[in-house]
């Protein structure tokens, strides 16, 4: 079942490629929308049948390359199932948004279908090499999205930078995985087996180096300061859909990797270096927020708030590794908050990037200063963007508040100073979002030269459906979060149990 969910988009992608090229462009997009909708429906079925206290479920284990200790092992638990659902939803939203895409639609749709399989595969993978395969292929897929559909020649440079950075990270990750593999007896790459045996317990420096390699690999992808420099150009020059997937799904691969691999497989080392991780998280929070405040480019600003939001997650998982001064409940709260933040950030930032795509479509620029008084011309766009921005700064009622509240409450006991510093991130984020809203939507109407005399078009239905549906879910999580937290909490308690070993 899980394999069907994962590989359905790839099958459709192959079918579309083999089909004669006579189909109109819209047929490809509709095929994509239907595929994404079916995939989402299947995930909802999985969710309904999911027993939140049952640990790893829908497991499937097939021998793949037994000689090398590599197997095809997939399954979902409370950590991965929400991310799988988020992936399906985001791809559906992006598919709907793409109804207006006219540039080389056939390869575009196929590339996104490929990316969907890769992203789903990563979240369900329970084998390190399988995880790595999908991790690397996501980089390849996103490289082509940015280079092929980004904004001009700059996009090619940004895509190259993105590829080089994240590929370096992935190779560091591979070295770490090899380190884990060699330490296990018998040698294996299976995450479940490695979690059970904890092969690096008490291995001092060796375990430290393995955590360093894995940590660097995941930190580049997340990204945290100081490995974040690929992110702003990649986002700025990527198409809106690519940015939404990059921020909504691909960044989660890094943070998910921490929760799925780094914490359970290297518990002792994780606890030992928890303070370092916490500090990196706090620095990302504050630095990301401050740099975002200084941006004059709307999309670049959102990109930096991603660094800030990912920082909260790193802070939480760092605090979850600090045993002193905290009890299991607080630490589990921090992990739950981290996972909720992954979902929340995917929904809200995904919507914000889609909206920034609308902005670029109308005015051919992201510069905040180029726009003024947009609310008068485009009331719907202004309203949706304002809602998304408020959700992004963590206002109660949206998922961001639930996530950040849990993170701060869970981290305060063990990392009081770090948490206090991180809270300032919320203030700065609020300031920068309000500043951007005021500059672009209020005041005397002024538009960039590129907009024709006929005036600027408001949000179209495909654009509205895609962004509003994401925000609606963020609102639903913010108001009635239990259905989500019930799934995440048992899994985060399990992770905390593993880290405390």
């Amino acid at each position: 079942m899980l394999s069907i969910v994962t590989f359905l988009p790839l099958l459709v992608c192959a079918a579309l490629l083999l089909w004669p090229r006579t189909l109109p462009d819209l047929a490809y997009t509709w095929a994509w929308i239907v595929t994404a909708a079916v995939d989402l429906a299947l995930v909802i079925v999985l969710w309904v049948g999911f027993d939140s206290h049952g640990g790893m479920q829908y497991e499937q284990r097939v021998r793949w390359i037994p000689g090398a200790g590599v197997g095809y092992h997939v399954g979902v638990d409370g950590l991965s199932l929400p991310l799988v659902a988020l992936t399906c939803l985001l791809f559906l939203a992006v598919a709907v948004y793409s109804l207006r895409e006219t540039r080389r639609v056939r390869p575009y749709v196929c590339l996104f279908l490929f990316l969907q399989t890769v992203s789903l595969g990563l979240f369900v993978a329970l084998d390190l090499i399988l995880f790595f395969v999908f991790f690397d292929l996501s980089i390849v897929g996103m490289f082509f999205v940015i280079a092929g559909w980004g904004h001009g020649e700059r996009a090619r440079a940004a895509a190259l930078k993105f590829f080089l950075y994240t590929f370096t990270g992935s190779l560091a990750l591979l070295l770490g995985f090899i380190g884990l593999y060699l330490a296990a007896d018998p040698h294996t790459f299976d995450i479940v087996d490695l979690t059970r045996t904890d092969p690096l317990a008490g291995r001092g420096l060796y375990a430290g180096l393995v955590l360093l390699a894995i940590g660097v690999g995941l930190a580049v992808k997340t990204p945290t300061v100081p490995f974040h420099t690929w992110l702003p150009p990649a986002h700025t020059d990527a198409p809106a859909t690519g940015s939404a997937i990059l921020a909504g799904v691909l960044l989660k691969m890094g943070t998910y990797g921490f929760v799925r691999i780094a914490m359970p497989l290297l518990p002792g080392t994780w606890r030992h270096y928890a303070l370092v991780i916490t500090i990196i998280g706090v620095v990302s929070v504050v630095y990301g927020a401050l740099v975002a405040l200084a941006q004059t480019d709307f999309k670049r600003m959102i990109a930096y708030t991603s660094v800030n939001h990912m920082g909260y997650i790193v802070l939480a998982i760092g605090a979850a590794g600090t045993l002193a001064g905290s009890d299991a409940q607080a630490r589990s709260l921090a992990v739950t908050g981290a996972v909720t933040q992954m979902i929340s950030h995917g929904l809200i930032t995904g919507a914000l990037f889609l909206l920034s795509g609308v902005l670029y479509d109308r005015g051919q620029t992201y510069a905040i200063g180029a726009y003024s008084g947009l609310a008068a011309h485009t009331p719907r766009f202004a309203a949706v963007t304002a809602v998304a921005a408020f959700a992004g700064l963590g206002i109660p009622g949206f998922s961001g508040f639930i996530a950040e509240f849990q993170i701060f409450t869970g981290s305060l006991a063990s990392q009081a100073i770090a948490t206090a510093i991180a809270v300032t991130g919320i203030l700065i984020t609020a300031a920068l979002f309000l500043r951007a809203l005021r500059a672009m939507f209020l005041g005397a109407p002024r538009l960039p030269q590129a907009i024709s005399a006929a005036g600027v078009t408001d949000l179209r239905s495909s654009e509205a459906i895609s962004s509003v549906s994401l925000l609606a879910l963020a609102l639903a999580i913010g108001v009635v979060p239990r259905w989500l937290l019930d799934v995440i909490e048992p899994a985060s308690r399990a992770v905390i149990g593993l880290v405390a070993r």
Binding site: W64, A147, L164, I178
Partner: protein, 473 residues
């Protein structure tokens, strides 16, 4: 004494067909010379079947006073060499069709291929040197096959370096013989630990010189770019793939079987050679604009990764697996890229590949799979090879080498992407005629090789068990 000739069917099929092809080629009219190509392909197929039968029958043995070993490494090496040879034959069809020396071309390919097979199984220094000559001399002739200025220069450079380092290798053989009073690996293994250190060290380095020349590793790599650039493209594919397979397995056997117990610190020597080879190959490839020269330097850097497995040959038992898997994946991937270059005879520089994705999506797909494959992107075969080789290197205690290889892998990404970027460019169409294709055979070999390269990764589980088995003394 075991003189079982049936064990040598693959070698004899290639060499016997070479003689037969030479005779047939002398009598056949020019338009029927393709019959020799069919003979060559039939010889490779026969040899493949014989190898498969040997593997399934478990008929591992050493023959002719233990000078030739038929064991796991030989079997897998034969499969790789013969499969690669078949692909090279297929991609050459259009290039030599109707050529006045067509039959000679196929005969030379077979002779050199036979020599490569002999290198793989050689279990004796003299046998190894004879195989070296058999593999090299036809290759010199092949390099100059086009008889144009660049081809002649390439052949001369290839020949001079080969002759110099071949003589060095013979001197090294003499020194090792002097040190160990034998040329058989099994006897050297017993005698070398007690032999004078300096003699063994110098003898080993001199012997390695010739083998490194065949593999195209630093410091014997200078011929690689010139021959790759000057020779016809299928020949370039040949000389950058098959001799490497023969030489690297031969070095592995020599180090593992003859020098395992000697006091010479050859693991460190090989590790340094690996580090230098991969780094220099990568740096030189960075700003190449000619496709064939870029590929030439890329093959040098790939040898660097392969040498890592040799450095840990006796330090870990997964080295052999890594070496063989990597060789198989490298052969398929490298040949696929060269087949694309053969199929597009008018595209010489990276810029000529502009817009290939639009004109020839199939070939562009092969390039994506194989260039990313050469980087080591999963799930291609080279990824599995790299995984195994890196694992072996870390396990063998050379973590620094694995880290350097990772850094080099990232660096290599730069020039492979420099090639891929124009392929997908839409901004300016290529000059008319740049993307005219050669014919069906070269395209078919490109697709087959790319599929193999992908399958070796996805279905690597089937290959790995075949590669584990002891070397026979």
């Amino acid at each position: 004494m075991n003189e079982n000739l049936t064990a040598l069917i693959p070698e004899m099929a290639l060499l016997g067909t070479a003689v037969l092809g030479l005779l047939a080629g002398s009598w056949l009219p020019r338009r029927r010379q393709w019959i020799v190509a069919v003979l060559a392909a039939a010889a490779c197929t026969t040899a493949l079947i014989a190898t498969a039968l040997t593997m399934t029958g478990g008929r591992e043995q050493t023959v002719f006073s233990h000078t030739f070993a038929i064991d796991t490494a030989t079997d897998v090496g034969r499969l790789i060499v013969l499969g690669a040879l078949l692909l090279v034959i297929a991609m050459s069809v259009e290039t030599v069709r109707g050529h006045r020396r067509e039959a000679e071309y196929w005969v030379l390919l077979l002779l050199s291929g036979g020599g490569t097979l002999a290198m793989i199984g050689a279990n004796d220094l003299l046998m190894l040197f004879a195989a070296y000559l058999l593999a090299s001399i036809p290759a010199y002739a092949l390099a100059g096959f086009a008889k144009d200025a660049r081809g002649t220069e390439a052949a001369l450079k290839y020949y001079l370096m080969g002759a110099l380092l071949g003589t060095t290798m013979l001197a090294g053989t003499a020194l090792l013989y002097g040190a160990g009073h034998a040329t058989l690996y099994r006897q050297l293994r017993a005698a070398l630990p007690a032999a004078p250190y300096g003699l063994v060290a110098v003898g080993l380095i001199a012997t390695l010189a010739g083998l490194l020349f065949k593999a195209g590793a630093v410091p014997a790599h200078f011929w690689v770019p010139d021959v790759t650039d000057g020779a016809p493209t299928p020949i370039a594919a040949y000389v950058t793939t098959l001799p490497k397979i023969g030489a690297l397995i031969a070095v592995y056997r020599l180090l593992h079987q003859a020098l395992a117990g000697s006091g010479v610190n050859w693991p460190l020597l090989l590790a340094i050679l690996a580090a230098v080879t991969m780094t220099l190959g990568n740096l030189a490839a960075f700003f190449q604009t000619s496709v064939k020269r870029l590929l030439a330097y890329s093959t040098i850097s790939q040898v660097g990764y392969l040498l890592m497995a040799l450095a840990v040959a006796t330090r870990t038992d997964v080295a052999q697996r890594g070496l063989l898997v990597y060789l198989a994946a490298y052969a398929a991937t490298n040949i696929a890229v060269f087949a694309v270059a053969t199929e597009l005879p008018h595209a010489h520089t990276l810029a000529d590949y502009r817009g290939l994705a639009r004109d020839r999506p199939g070939l562009a797909g092969v390039l994506v799979v194989c260039l990313l494959g050469l980087v080591g992107t999963p799930p291609t075969g080279v990824f599995l090879g790299k995984l195994e080789v890196f694992t072996a290197t870390v396990n063998g205690g050379y973590t620094w080498l694995a880290a350097l290889a990772v850094a080099n892998t990232v660096a290599s990404l730069f020039y492979y992407l420099r090639w891929l970027a124009p392929v997908f460019s839409i901004s300016r169409p290529a000059t008319v005629g740049d993307h005219t294709v050669l014919g069906r055979w070269a395209a078919a070999s490109a697709y087959t090789a790319a599929t193999l390269s992908l399958l070796l990764g996805i279905a690597g589980g089937a290959l790995l068990p075949l590669t584990t088995g002891p070397l026979l003394p």
